[in-house]
Symmetry: C2
């Protein structure tokens, strides 16, 4: 539930400020775990764009609380959103957030 960093020019355009670097590092930290990357990928690649948590827990040999913890990290980083519908909770990715990170990593390559 942190504030979303703005568009943010590519790394290679200008040196990052300490503040920008801190915000970006928090996002990359959320991605810096194999389980979380697989969760994100499972959600993102799903037909319809959303996945029930029960399907995610089944896909790993990890305890429910551990999956729940990883989903919370991704959620608080702003990379996914969760919605409860009845008994189940469904997650979907925030494509803008991923796109923003992708843009930050683009090499400079003749800016103008």
């Amino acid at each position: 539930m942190s504030k979303q960093p703005e568009g943010c020019a590519p790394l290679a355009r200008d040196p990052l400020s300490a503040e920008q670097a801190g915000e970006l590092a928090a996002l990359f930290k959320a991605l810096a775990d194999p389980v979380r990357l697989r969760l994100l990928s499972l959600i993102a690649s799903q037909e319809g764009g959303e996945v029930c948590v029960c399907h995610l827990t089944d896909a790993f040999e990890l305890s429910g609380p551990t999956i729940s913890h990883h989903l919370k990290v991704l959620r608080e980083a702003g990379l996914i959103t969760g919605e409860r519908r009845g008994t189940w909770v469904y997650y979907r990715v925030r494509a803008e957030a991923l796109g923003r990170l992708s843009a930050v990593l683009l090499p400079a390559e003749v800016p103008a």
Copy 2:
């Protein structure tokens, strides 16, 4: 000096294998620190593409060993390369590595 992961389709195309996720997580872990992001950005945004370590240590209020440690993490992740010329060591970014990571994060958005 780990082996470079191959092109790797976007996260959103297909669910990542455990192995792919592990390799990617190692790369994102290297980016998951404010100091390393600023170092990378300082190097990448430099006119000429390379920076002397002495310039990098001057840019932070951190000890030399700490900067050296972070450069090593980036180097072993394959994100930068270092070259010694005489007294000084110069670093430059591996644009392909950054570009690959950028591509992985691209949202799917009508693949065909």
